[in-house]
Amino acid sequence: MTGTFALVRLALRRDRLLLPVWIMVITGAIAGTASAIGELYPGMEQRLALGVTIGSTPALQALTGPVFDATSVGGLTAWRATTLATALAGLMSIMVVTRHTRAEEETGRAELIGACAVGRHAIPAAAVIVAGGANLLIALLLTVALTGQGLPGSGALASGLAVGGTGWVFTGIAVVAAQVTEHARTANGLAISVLGLAYLLRASGDAAGVETLSWLSPLGWAQGVRAFAGERWWVVGPLALTGLILVGLAALLARRRDVGTGLLPPRLGPSDAAPNLASALALAWRLQRGGLLGWMIGFAIGGAMLGSLAQSVGDIVNDNPQLAAILERIGGAGALVDTFLAAVMGLLGLAVGGFAVQATLRLQGEEAGVRAEPVLAAAVPRWRWTLSHLVIALGGTAIVITAGGLTAGLAHGVRTGEVGEQVIRLLGAAWVQVPAAWVSAGIAMLLFGLLPRLTALAWAALVAFALLGQLGELLQLDDWIRSLSPFAHLPQAPGGEVSATPLLWLTAIAMALALAGVAAFQRRDLAGN
């Protein structure tokens, strides 16, 4: 562990901008929600009415979890913001840990550090301390911020511990992933898959009212703390303990492997390239196909799980004739199911935006890793190299979300007995999302061409779009602010009227951004090492 303190300082120096932004966004999301709910639902009756609506809308419960206490502002805040904030805290922890562990090993910088008077576990230990510290700070700031808004101190503390605790669990998951994989990209992918699975388990459990399912997910534990609703403090225990056990497991694994390698031994490859590995596009495909496949599998699983839930959302309402009668006026349970499915597709759309940004920024990874140089020093025009990755990012976006729409349609169709019809409807609903995700890719491409050092802003934009979509209405942000998100312009599908105009506009904007990025890259210097 020698040298850990110095490495912590190094990590803080490298993340002096990134980490504060993450922390501010996460605490701000919850604190903002609390103040909005306090303003919008000042009276007990208004809050109870909202609680009844939520209780009778499984779609909402799938997206944000159940509401445990609708009488208080705190209870509603915990319902609305916990899942979002815990997912973001998990994402932050994964990014921070991978960045300071596996990514350092991959670039060989860890070797430089490891040769100094630094203990074997100092690098992962420093990453865990930084990520754990960030989560602790989030817990503290949340407690202070929520108490400052006049909410009960114990609930504020529980809220903070739930969010920080979940972040801590994913700190552990990320540091384990960093031991078993060989590349930073796979480590991130593995840990984020676990986060996605945790979200799906909780969503399924909450929507279908099966509590055991929710309890399988760390995100479900965070809800189980029941901040502002008769806090169950003991649930903080498993959160803290699981993180600790995972960190210990990572330490054990680290002892069994060499620096720079994963747990699996490297395999040999062919001595000659296949005949078709002869162009920039073939290379881009070769580099990206693994990631694309992983995303497709993830979307297929997620689509199937969420699609199979949709019908139970309708069943719950049908069991309640009173509610059904009210709902009949707005289109019946069928409309409710469609609302749920549309919300699911919206989530898949945001998620595929993540693929679009990641696949586009592969360009930046190749340039920064000096692997673009040999390609561009050969007879490959710059535009062809950029377009080859861009084609995969844009095409892959459509392919990945097709996988999700297809399995969602199949799963939902099997339950309603109209497979053909539902597959077509949900494929259509999935494809509606594509232009907005393309805009995210376009932003990434423009940043790569113009400001390659600031490509992380493409991720920031995507998170901002997600926050605008999730919280914009609640926070009563002006329309023009909410309309900054491309996802805000997508028609409701399935169930809504789909007009081509916004889709065409978004596609045109995406292409314009992307081509501007390609053009900008034509003129700039290539980064060296």
């Binding site: 991959e106 060989e182 590349h183 720079g260 490297p266 395999r267 040999l268 490859g269 062919p270 001595s271 000659d272 390239a273 296949a274 590995l277 002869a278 162009s279 920039a280 290379l283 070769r286 580099l287 693994g290 890793g369 000096v370 692997r371 140089e373 040999p374 390609v375 561009l376 020093a377 050969a378 007879a379 490959v380 025009p381 003129r523 700039r524 210097d525 290539l526 060296g528 090492n529």
Partner: protein, 297 residues
């Protein structure tokens, strides 16, 4: 062989922010020659190569490569040249053999037979994945990919930095063969013996400027020979003789350095004093090099 130089650079500048990497660099590489591009780390060698490759935009000045414009005609020019970077990075998931084939094809094709021969010569296993290679082996991958391509010009940026002496010898053999085939080679290096052994002409660069350029003979002409002599007696006036430096006398033995155009005068003085033994060493590039950096800093 056309009479036009393969590379013609004059007054080239390049700044990165406030750092001036190239400050009016001049460089001429004639077609068919092996040209040494010599300078310490940070002198601007790699920046020059990256401008020639159209990876960086030139600031001001003129740069011409194989009769074309390095930035505008990049793709056409790259079909006719191959480049080996100083720090080779490979794709972690591609095997060495795949990387060689890919780079060759992107350049417009490579000779499979020559590739096999080079793999053998450099004793390189092409089935390992990019990650698994050592620095020297990554360098070999890039060298094989470059040497197996049928190109007019090779741009080599410190290509032997990671190779062991045995492989260095193999590399020299290859470069000699390339010259025999009429190819032009620009060899950037700070390894002086390598340049001395391989190059027809040398350009020495320092702080983004060429400080010296010419054949080794021409460069030596500018420098001092070191002389050791056993004499009957120590001649008077040796210390005062113009062009003589660092005179050391121990008993009947003198050691000194003398500028090339003053050699005759010094020798006359020595013969008059009765020479019993004499060694005269031409300056090594090492000395040439050291002097450039000492005198200017």
């Amino acid at each position: 062989m056309s009479g036009n130089p393969a590379i013609l650079i004059s007054g080239l500048t390049k700044t990165f922010g406030r750092v001036r990497a190239l400050d009016g660099l001049d460089l001429t590489v004639e077609a068919g020659e092996v040209h040494g591009f010599l300078g310490p780390n940070g002198a601007g060698k790699t920046t020059t190569l990256r401008i020639l490759l159209g990876l960086l935009r030139a600031g001001s000045g003129h740069a011409e490569l194989l009769g074309g414009h390095p930035w505008r005609d990049a793709v056409e020019l790259h079909r006719r040249l191959a480049y080996v970077p100083g720090d080779v990075v490979l794709w972690p998931t591609l095997s060495g053999g795949e990387a060689i084939d890919l780079l060759g094809r992107l350049r417009g094709g490579l000779d499979q037979r020559r590739k096999k021969a080079l793999l053998e010569l450099f004793d390189l296993d092409p089935t390992k994945k990019g990650r698994a290679y050592s620095k020297g082996n990554r360098q070999k991958v890039a060298l094989v990919a470059a040497l197996a391509s049928d190109v007019e010009l090779l741009l080599l940026d410190e290509p032997t930095a990671g190779l062991d002496p045995l492989m260095e010898a193999a590399f020299r053999e290859c470069v000699t063969e390339e010259r025999g085939n009429g190819r032009t080679v620009l060899l950037s290096s700070h390894i002086l013996s390598e340049v001395e052994a391989l190059c027809d002409r040398v350009t020495i660069v320092r702080d983004g400027r060429a400080v010296e350029s010419g054949t080794l003979a021409q460069l030596r002409h500018l420098t001092r020979s070191s002389i050791t002599a056993e004499l009957d007696r120590i001649p008077d006036g040796l210390a005062e003789l113009a062009g003589v430096h660092e005179l050391a006398i121990s008993g009947s033995r003198v050691r000194f350095e003398v500028e090339a155009d003053r050699l005759g005068g010094a020798l006359r003085l020595l013969t008059d004093a009765g020479v019993r033994g004499l060694t005269c060493q031409p300056p090594t590039l090492e000395e040439l090099f050291l002097r450039h950096y000492q005198s200017a800093s």
